[in-house]
Amino acid sequence: MKVRFWGVRGSIPVPGPQTNRYGGNTSCVEVRPKGGAPIVIDAGSGIRKLGQHLMNHECGEGNGSVHLLISHTHWDHIQGLPFFSPLYTEGNDLHVYARQREDKHLQSIFAQQNEGPYFPVPLDSMKASVDFRELTEGQQFDIAEAKVTCTRLNHPWIAMAYRIDVDGASVVYSSDTAPFTDILLEQEFIAQPPEIGAPLKPEDAAKLKAMRKGLVDLCKGADLLIYDTQFTPEEYRQKPHWGHSTPDDAMSIARDAGVKTVALFHHAPARTDDQQDAILERYQEGTKNEEFDVISSYEGMELTLGDHD
């Protein structure tokens, strides 16, 4: 399979010379199994250029099929979808997968983004056919030859991590999540950060422990782990309730799960290219004796894992 990064930024797109090298588009990763249709994870602003790329192939002829796994529906993970060119060509199929919600069907959540007064082209008037499949935590399913598994993460309103196994290789996408130590993030709005290291309610601690185990199990032996590393440790201490991790948290999961490579992902909007270089260098230096490699994702990065075209 080939894994290509189209958007690596968190929260909001950040154009400008300071993001030229790592890229300013929000989250979007393409996993392309050998000879198969693309499996896309998240539809941040990076999906716009992926769409243009796909239009040079099957999608341009109206016989493209795209599977889209959504970690969660916060804007930075869906804001590119109205600008995904294959949706505007008849004959293409888009299959959207995301966690089932208690109050609303997935389709109506996505429809809202495309409706007035926010956007001029309603989802149901798109020329491509779009269908939605709601997932439960831990569910396993197949997309052609690929096996997909998922588990929940520690993020406000809850996000899902996905593992894709195909072509004798495996990739895990784990964004967005807070570490599993200081706060349980679910449906409730949390206005104030807890004190770092303050004792958790026993039921919250148990839930976080189970969540972390679920993620470690999901990552077991993965070739590539793409992980939310929005914060430096210093930034995290100010904002533990925002639902994002540090590279240290990614390393901890990688170590316990025996993954081969960790890719830093979901860079903070304020992070300049030079700062990201420094973060990468710091963690590469600090993990020399580990079993895994550390890389930083950047827009346009393509990795080849297992069998490939």
Binding site: I12, G16, N20, G80, F189
Partner: protein, 284 residues
């Protein structure tokens, strides 16, 4: 009035080396009045950078006050709102004007943006600062901090967007983004609204060729902008809201082509610039 551009791009932010010079952030323009009052026109992603620049002053300490004017609520004109740091500081105050039949409707549009499915903010109530929503009635002039403000409902695809006219000490700045005129051209009312303005900032999303295949989207070409600027006898035309796929070099080409169009319409004396992120204009 001192005008500054924070985001000049249309539809969706366009990061990348190819947009470094004009900028890839979506629509946001600020005005400082002669009394140093702050107006913010549209809240595309550019407003985040305006907000960051304000945090060193009174907006950082919770004594800031600004007036926001929204042209309409398409994403590229509101998507920076939850990333505007001063909005979280208790004590700051914002009046938000927008095109709505009622202030309640305007509030519910922005409340929808904060919905927990889409945003970790959950609701406007969590923003911290004081926000008062005010529906704008096009054609009814009002006064904000000594500036005369009027609005015009311009056609924009299957909806409409407000153009704003700001006049202070006899000088006029017009913000007219996101407008697609009918085949018959701009209405007499639109030309009258732009008439004799010192600066007309106008939607220049497309080349005429690209516009032909995208008519329904309701945007102007540089030729539309040049024609209406000449017809209204404005002194300075500022191009704005470039298509997300246009590189800096392409915008340079748009600028040159727009100059020719202005001249062709007898507008040789009209000054022309292409708005770029970070650039400022003195309208006084």
């Amino acid at each position: 009035m001192r005008v500054k551009f924070w985001g000049v791009r249309g539809s969706i932010p366009a990061p990348g080396p190819e947009t470094n010079r004009y900028g890839g952030n979506t629509s946001c323009v600020s005005i400082r009045t002669s009394d140093d009052e702050l107006f913010i026109i549209d809240m595309g992603t550019g407003v985040m950078h305006l907000g960051i620049s304000l945090m060193g002053g009174e907006f950082g300490s919770g004594s800031g006050k600004a007036t926001v004017f929204l042209s309409h609520a398409h994403w590229d004109h509101i998507q920076g709102f939850p990333f505007f740091p001063p909005i979280f500081v208790p004590g700051n105050h914002f009046d938000v004007y927008g095109n709505a039949r009622s202030s309640d409707r305007l509030e519910s549009i922005l409340e929808g943006q904060m919905n927990p499915h889409f945003s970790p903010i959950y609701t406007l109530k969590n923003l911290g600062s004081g926000i008062v929503f005010r529906g704008v009635h096009p054609g009814q002039e009002f006064d904000v901090a000594g500036v005369q403000v009027n609005a015009l409902d311009n056609p924009h695809g299957n909806t409409s967007a407000l153009a704003y006219r700001f006049s202070e000490n006899g000088r006029t700045f017009i913000y007219a983004s996101d407008v697609g005129y009918p085949d018959s051209g701009p209405s007499a009312q639109t030309i009258a609204f732009y008439k004799d303005a010192d600066v007309l900032l106008h939607d220049c999303t497309y080349t005429p060729e690209d516009q032909k295949t995208r008519r329904a989207r309701g945007f102007s070409s540089y030729a539309d902008a040049a024609a209406v600027a000449a017809a209204a006898g404005v002194k300075h035309l500022v191009m704005f809201h470039y298509d997300q796929d246009y590189s800096d070099d392409k915008v340079d080409a748009l600028l040159a082509a727009c100059r020719k169009e202005l001249d062709r319409h007898g507008g040789e004396s009209i000054k022309l610039t292409a708005a770029a992120e970070g650039a400022e204009l003195d309208v006084s």
